[in-house]
Symmetry: C2
Subunit: 375 residues, 2 copies
């Protein structure tokens, strides 16, 4: 099968995946998440965690990842180097967050100037890394989300995105709180604020969007901005289910994200399953046309993710990159094995252990054939 | 950790786990499920499927299972023998379904007499099996659900449950349709119909209960009847989330079930995760006290299941049976490893591959230590 694209990963949150998910969002962020991200100033810790995370993503069939790093540029460069070493195609952003009203004093950019200078330094260093070892790593403009940033930083990041012609990633309308925050501070919708600062482009990926209105979706369609649907995370923090079918029908690009660690699982398979299940619950509440099939969510995980990042991946086809996963159908002998049955079984039953090999651009990046054939 | 109890498994549906879940319930039953269950007349097929299923359940840490078989007694005896051979503690029922209005002509008991005679034959054969090789297998009175059975069969099954002092399992108020069916046919609630026929005892386990009223819960409490919460299945077919906290607060016994194959996963871990997530969505709709923690769902999977079946399992404690699973915390080196963190990681991240050994009554029934230590 094609490898998967994960459009939303907070790399430094990996050590807490699955922890404290029964706490309210503000407590989860302030007590657990921000102190954890702050630890990545320790580059040895960053090295240990990022090596484990990238190995795990590759082992789960994720060939392309779009990553939020932490505030610290050097830790983000560690992540970039590990992706290059292990062969993960990666889009990585230094997180910008400088608004003292919405960030803790132990974990923020100390000024708008620092946020922008460090973003620029990260971009330049990654562009160097690209040249030196032909790594497939792209820097990404990454305001954490509107509340975390001052106007100056949002404005400066929009200008950097234009100057370097780079992708942008941020959160948008993830929760009722975030949706309302934008209206109170800017008297605009969250997506309109991003547009105002030049952060809503055809290379932008917005995580979540559970609260998006029809007007928001029209704006995204016009800007050709993509959405990262993170179905597991949204159950905990989204206050709603993202309307994937609506967005797709309105020609908005949509892919899938794990949202490590708002979502606990590093597996896009798990998120495909949850996307189906969440769409099912949406159906009961509003209308009969929300339900996603196994084929629909497979599209999101492959073609959808590739379109969001302007990649020729996600299909097994001439002229496309050879991003592949070799997957074992563990229950092959039990049933009649029509292609549709095999397909649905792979979507619903594939765990890490059934993914035998993973290739990025034709290069073998994960191999667990040996363990099971006695080699 | 203690082994898990799975309170609701349709053994013959295992080959279709994860298939056709985007179809409406009636199509799913008539086009896929009933023809599949009918195939188990072929005992060689039964042998192949049941051996695969029981190995899979043990590998996932399920030490006790409560099983619906199929209509065919001999195929159910194959299941009983395989459970005995592989060391699965099992409660198994021959499915009774003889109402021609609600069952297909190719798959039903041909009369009430046949349903009751075959149930009796199954009971007697399993009681013999218990004596001959001290297998921990218990026969269970199993009307498929109220709509599938004639009054004569419901009445006769109630009498058999009393005569042999056996557990009872069936579905109850799983969907809006089932809930309404009982009212139309009997002018009573689904649970009250079961009570009327002597099928609501302190040894009864009712699957689903997504539509239960406060009055129903009070009836179950008075009868000391248990509920099998099947959170994955309910997303597809339940039309609602079962009110686990309400039931527990009202002193109704509750455990967990995979509902293979209304639920696609054979893993109780997956169902614990979904129970947490489903409880989270219930919270948004009704009140603030529905949310289940990791500790809550672990209780359901261990102590809750054991209480439902009157077993001394589910705890690691003197005088309790040694039903155990040895589980590897695969991310131990990444975090601070407070006991609560280790516990939540195990609940959220354990796959089959991390379950190293499983014991039932002190006997090793699953071992994958060898594969990973080079033996």
């Amino acid at each position: 099968m094609p490898g998967f694209t994960d459009l939303h990963i907070h790399a430094p949150q990996w050590p807490q995946a699955g922890l404290a998910l029964d706490r309210p969002l503000q407590e989860w962020l302030n007590t657990y998440t921000f102190p954890l991200e702050a630890k990545f100033k320790d580059l040895a810790y960053a090295e240990k965690v990022y090596r484990n995370l990238i190995s795990e993503l590759l082992a789960n069939g994720t060939t392309t990842g779009l990553f939020f790093g932490s505030v610290d540029t050097d830790a983000n460069l560690v992540l970039a180097k590990i992706c290059a070493q292990l062969g993960q195609r990666a889009f990585i952003g230094k997180v910008a967050m400088d608004n003292p009203e919405q960030t803790p004093d132990f974990y923020r950019d100390n000024s708008s100037k620092e946020a922008l200078d460090e973003t620029k330094r990260f971009i330049e260093e990654v562009l160097k890394l690209q040249k030196t070892n032909s790594a497939d790593i792209t820097p990404v403009i990454t305001p954490r989300f509107v509340p975390s940033c001052t106007d100056e930083t949002l404005d400066g990041l929009g200008k950097l995105a234009a100057k370097y012609d780079l992708p942008v990633q941020t959160h948008c309308s993830e929760s009722i709180w975030e949706d309302q925050y934008a209206i109170e501070r800017f008297h605009k919708r969250d997506a309109q604020v991003l547009e105002q600062f030049g952060l809503l482009t055809d290379k932008t990926v917005l995580a979540h969007g559970t609260q998006l209105t029809d007007g928001d979706l029209e704006l995204l369609r016009n800007k050709q901005t993509a959405l990262a649907h993170c179905p597991i995370s949204n159950v905990y923090f989204g206050n709603n289910v993202m309307r994937v079918k609506d967005a797709h029908d309105k020609n908005v690009k949509v892919g899938l994200g794990t949202d490590i660690s708002g979502g606990f699982s590093p597996s896009i398979y798990r998120n495909m399953q949850q996307a189906i299940m969440s769409s099912q619950t949406l159906q009961d509440e509003t209308n009969q046309n929300t339900r996603l099939t196994a084929a629909n969510v497979f599209y999101l995980a492959t073609v959808g993710g590739a379109l969001a990042l302007h990649l020729k991946t996600g299909r097994i086809k001439a002229s496309f990159k050879a991003d592949l996963q070799i997957v074992q159908d563990q229950y092959y002998e039990l049933s009649s094995n029509h292609p549709q049955e095999i397909f649905e079984r792979l979507i619903y039953h594939t765990n890490k252990e059934n993914i035998k090999q993973v290739y990025v651009s034709g290069k073998l990046v994960h191999d667990n054939m040996g363990e099971n054939n006695g080699k």
